[in-house]
């Protein structure tokens, strides 16, 4: 699990501790849902480019 508070500080985000919690807590919850999904990705899966572009073969 990423340390979002440390990442925020390293990114130069200067906010008070309460605000830091308001930023870090939702990211921790999202991380818990997102990270396991990434583990299932195989290298052949390329990024989505939008339905219209996919359809047009662009």
């Amino acid at each position: 699990m990423k340390d979002w508070r440390a990442i925020a500080k390293a990114s130069g985000l200067e906010v008070d501790p309460a605000e830091l919690n308001r930023i870090a807590e939702p990211l921790e919850a999202l991380e818990a849902a997102f990270r396991p999904l990434v583990k299932d990705l195989t290298p052949d899966v390329e990024p989505f480019t939008g339905p219209c572009l996919e359809e047009n073969g662009e």
Binding site: L13, I23, L30, L41, P47, F48, G50, C52
Partner: protein, 461 residues
Amino acid sequence: MTIREAADALRARRVSAVELAAAANARIGRLNSKLNAFITVTAEQAREEARQADAELAAGRDRGPLHGIPVAVKDLFATRGVRTTCGSKVYEDFVPAIDAAVVERLRAAGAVMLGKLNMHEMAYGITSANPHFGPVSNPWNLEHSPGGSSGGSGAAVAAQMVYAAMGSDTGGSIRIPAAFCGTVGLKPTYGRVSRYGALPLAYSLDHMGPLARSVRDAAMVLNAIAGHDRRDPTSSRHPVVDYIPDDGCSIRRLRIGFPGNFYFDHLDPGVESSVRGVFARAQSLGAVVKSVRVPDVAALNAVGRVILLAEAAAVAEPFLERREKFGPDVLSLLDQGRLVPATDYINAQRLRRKLSREFDQLWSEVDCLIAPTTPNTAPRIGDAAVRLGGRDEDVRLATTRLVRGINVLGLPALSIPCGLASNGLPIGIQIIGPAWDEALILRIGAALEDGGVGIPACPPA
């Protein structure tokens, strides 16, 4: 009165466009102090446009069903010479030199523009409790939120200030206010309606669409605004059709998907019973209701949130040094987005492709999916949490839970009102269809509406 009824009255000379605009202006004048739906009212401009509409009709120039009809647009659509704030301090003095594509097309269709509608700051939230321009109230109960981010659009249509309003939907922002305010709301397929001139929240998730009093009214607006626009790099050349459902349209033998997983978890009981009633009504109208297992919508939501955080932070980055210009909820989301690594954003887009392919397979089993638009009715203004299924849930995450995934997939979805809860607030269903099949979901919506699914008009605020 619907757009069709007003259009018929205009052509029969029972009413003029000037009278329609005057009535709309009077209603806005009477109600806007309570609802705060409009940020800017363009009354004089509307009078002039209405005079021109009448003159054209008298001269035999008929631009179609929107000719002379009062409409308004969310305040993120650029309007030439009229301030466009995006509900934000950042844009409080922004007066565009152009009209957004949607505004151009509405004007070309003869619609009369009544003004610019309040919204959640930067379209980044679902309450429309705007810290800079004041909160929008729900016409059904002024203490409740209209939803958002197109909250002014929902309130203005429900309160009959205008016949239709334009909104944008990045994670439910058309469908949520439609459900909470008891209006119809259409999110077309991504690429169907040009985003040119609409201030972006998240490029790959933003969809433009109408809120209206009826399904056919929403279809009339879509007819006017759909189509390729070379100025929007994601605009599609997919053929445009006539989206207006026929009178007496049928859903006989259509396969309507009932999601057996996810969409009925943790619902308000009133919402659940009302939505289940729609399936019974659809069956009685000859549709075949088929239980299906939908792909992982929780995963879609997580993917959508990563993409939204990153794209919205990228859009707002030039303004983020002026932190005092943002409300606390939006600033917090933008700060979160600045921390999302590029690898997570790219992997979210890869997961999007994978999940999109899985979802596509659903359309071999059913013609559409029907689900609740939101698990709850409109929360009180200021509520941070909502209790559903015995657990407290963040109001933003709860309210977007059933709609966000469809933005990730780019599919068309139509929200229509289907009942009133015991607290007197509207409940909505969403009809989700395959890409580019707006005509199908509008036909299903119209058949349900004709078949009695709906609610009475909102009582005067």
